[in-house]
């Protein structure tokens, strides 16, 4: 049983040398293992900032609050320590790292997170299986990390990493954006496989309700003006679907 708590989180985006802007204005949210929380909200409300700030992206700086994983403040950890502690961020725009092969990267990552190097043969079998589940061509393993991948290919590889790393908490930042329905199904199945053990908490950030047909949320939160503006059950998504975010945009402004 894992408890992931965000308490009074405030964060700035660093724009230039002396320029910054506050984006997160006091976020509170608790996610227990086995729960899926959808974070929905208008563009520019700070959803992605929340994801990046938790992961420790260098362009964001946390000014107040804490993020606790089973009582331990992960904000005091380095980026890689957070990942090894069990926090995973599937990025909206995964980064291309030229010349570093996907297989080499994945092996290094799995080794770091599991604390020991997996046996080569075992790992390659595991990798091949996981790639097959996500309908990824095995040839991608030899390519540079995300190098020249299409948007959909990048998203599949994010979920591939999710399945290999088995985090305690997964933050999925608009994993559905830019996917056609077939790709959306494949990716959603991957998320559901990772959830199946009931040991992972999920923060599912999305602008649209479409993915919620495949990955069922237990809670839905509306994010507006840099904080959680309203929380409810799955039915809240339907309200947002029919009414839009207008009322929250006004409230947040």
């Amino acid at each position: 049983m894992t408890k992931f708590e965000i308490r009074g989180l405030r964060a700035d985006v660093l724009i230039g040398e002396d320029e910054r802007q506050e984006i997160l204005k006091g976020v509170d949210l608790t996610i227990n293992s086995g729960e899926t929380h959808a974070i929905m909200g208008p563009n520019g409300s700070g959803k992605s900032t929340l994801a990046y700030a938790i992961a420790g992206h260098p362009r964001y700086e946390i000014t107040e609050g804490e993020v606790l994983l089973d009582g331990e403040n992960i904000l005091e950890m380095s980026v890689d320590e957070r990942a090894r502690a069990g926090v995973f961020l599937a990025m909206q725009y995964p980064v291309e790292v030229p010349g570093v092969s996907m297989s080499n990267f994945l092996r290094s990552s799995v080794t770091a997170v599991r604390g020991e190097a997996p046996k080569l043969r075992q790992f390659s079998k595991e990798l091949q299986g996981a790639m097959k589940d996500l309908a990824i061509d095995p040839a991608f393993a030899a390519r540079g990390v995300n190098e020249g991948f299409s948007g959909g290919e990048k998203k599949r590889h994010e979920i591939l990493q999710l399945e290999l790393l088995k985090p305690k908490v997964a933050i999925l930042d608009e994993t559905d954006s830019g996917l056609d329905v077939d790709a959306l199904k494949v990716v959603s199945e991957g998320v559901n496989r990772a959830k199946a053990g009931g040991e992972m908490g999920v923060m599912l950030i999305t602008h649209y309700t479409r993915i919620l047909n495949y990955v069922k949320p237990d809670f839905v939160h509306v994010f507006a003006g840099g904080r959680v503006a309203e929380s409810g059950g799955p039915e809240l998504a339907d309200v947002l679907e029919s009414e839009g975010y207008e009322r929250f945009v006004k409230a947040g402004a």
């Binding site: 992206h57 890689d80 990942a83 090894r84 990025m91 980064v95 790292v97 290094s108 990552s109 770091a112």
Partner: protein, 386 residues
């Protein structure tokens, strides 16, 4: 058609009214045609003359020896010839005083010929181990029509070296030349590669510079027919106090020729100095030139210095593509963030990104065994700086 403005010519200035390239397409075989450089000249302003050990002012005494082992598969002839062999110097003039000095002073030249239509079963490997002293050398690599060859020039050891490698890639032939400057830390090497690329031929140059106190390498390409293609790839890792200078010149003196220049370096440690000069001339009256050059530098510490200068001279309006780019900077923190966000510790993430940066270039070497050998050299150099 050829372009009168960019043909190699004897060292003389002010020939009249023809627009004349300011870049170093002129030259001479005679060292006395070049004044002793003082350091402010365009072609010398980045080079620390004092560290040339007299190569530039006539005070160096040719007293050095090399141990040279050549492994040549069937289809390849290797000859040692005297100064009067007409194949020497046929690919272009020395463009600076040091290279002219080498041409004036060398005693024997090595000529490697790949027979017409030959497809070699393995690369030609020239192991050159410098055993101290000063020495001037000339190499000629002559690839006959439709032949396909990889030539590796693997240079190690210590000493002060200057010279030329003349390269002829005949019609329809393909040559990959891998030149490795893996000198001892105190070596000095000033050399010029002159490539003549014929109709429908492809010349690929891969330059790997890791060692030495001072390395100044000038690869030059000129074309002899349409459809000729040249790709110059360079990798350098420059450590504390090392000076690595690469000066490429592509002379698009014919129509429908292509060139790509890609040089990537990393610098680490006090006064590591990397210089890249990328000259491209697109000659008068030519059409359909496709050219692109770029240089990237990874400055791993703040006390390093980079000079990166692309020069394009275009004498025609009929160009298919002519571009250049140069960028120098530190490791991309977003790359590091991505790897670290997957649990990979910072030091390991740095290692992965730096290796990836070089692997991109090393992967252009056509033979896997050779790629691994080169990467192992790069690895051991990297390890010194971690």
């Amino acid at each position: 058609m050829t372009s009168p403005s960019t043909e190699p010519r004897a060292h003389s200035h002010g020939l009249g009214g023809i627009p004349f390239s300011k870049l170093a397409t002129h030259g001479s075989f005679d060292v006395n045609d070049f004044p002793v450089p003082a350091g402010r000249e365009e072609e010398w302003r980045f080079t620390p003359l004092r560290r040339l050990r007299g190569l530039h002012d006539g005070t160096a005494v040719a007293d050095g020896t090399d141990k040279v082992d050549i492994d040549a598969p069937a289809g390849v002839t290797v000859e040692t010839v005297g100064r009067d062999d007409e194949r020497i110097g046929a690919a272009g003039f020395p463009a600076d005083r040091v290279t002219a000095q080498a041409h004036t002073s060398f005693e024997k030249a090595t000529v490697v010929t790949v027979a017409q239509g030959a497809a070699l079963e393995r690369p030609v490997t020239i192991h050159r181990q410098a055993q101290g002293g000063t020495r001037y050398d000339q190499f000629v690599i002559d690839v006959k029509p439709l032949a396909e060859a990889i030539v590796v020039l693997n240079q190690t050891g210590t000493g002060v070296r200057a010279g030329s490698v003349d390269i002829h890639v005949a019609e329809g032939a393909r040559l990959t030349l891998v030149s490795v400057q893996d000198w001892d830390r105190d070596a000095v090497d000033v050399s010029q590669h002159n490539a003549q690329v014929a109709k429908d031929a492809t010349f690929k140059s891969i330059v790997i510079t890791l060692g030495g106190d001072l390395v100044r390498l000038s690869p030059k390409v000129a074309y002899k027919g349409r459809g000729a293609n040249a790709e110059l790839h360079g990798l350098y890792f420059t450590g504390d106090g090392q000076h690595h200078e690469h000066r490429s010149l592509i002379d698009h003196n014919m129509s429908n020729t292509r060139s790509r220049v890609e040089y990537k370096g990393a610098l680490s440690g006090k006064d590591a100095h990397g210089v890249w000069i990328g000259d491209v001339i697109i000659g008068e009256g030519t059409t359909g030139t496709d050219s692109y050059e770029h240089n990237r530098n990874l400055q791993l510490t703040d006390d390093t210095r980079v000079d990166s200068v692309p020069n394009l001279e275009i004498f025609t309006g009929e160009v298919e593509g002519a571009g250049h780019a140069a960028a120098s900077g530190r490791l991309d923190d977003i790359h590091l963030f991505y790897l670290r966000s997957r649990g990979i510790p910072e030091e390991e993430a740095r290692r992965l990104v730096i290796r990836g940066y070089f692997l991109e270039l090393v992967n252009r070497i056509p033979v896997e065994e050779l790629r691994e050998e080169i990467m192992a050299k790069v690895e051991s150099k990297l390890a010194e700086h971690e």
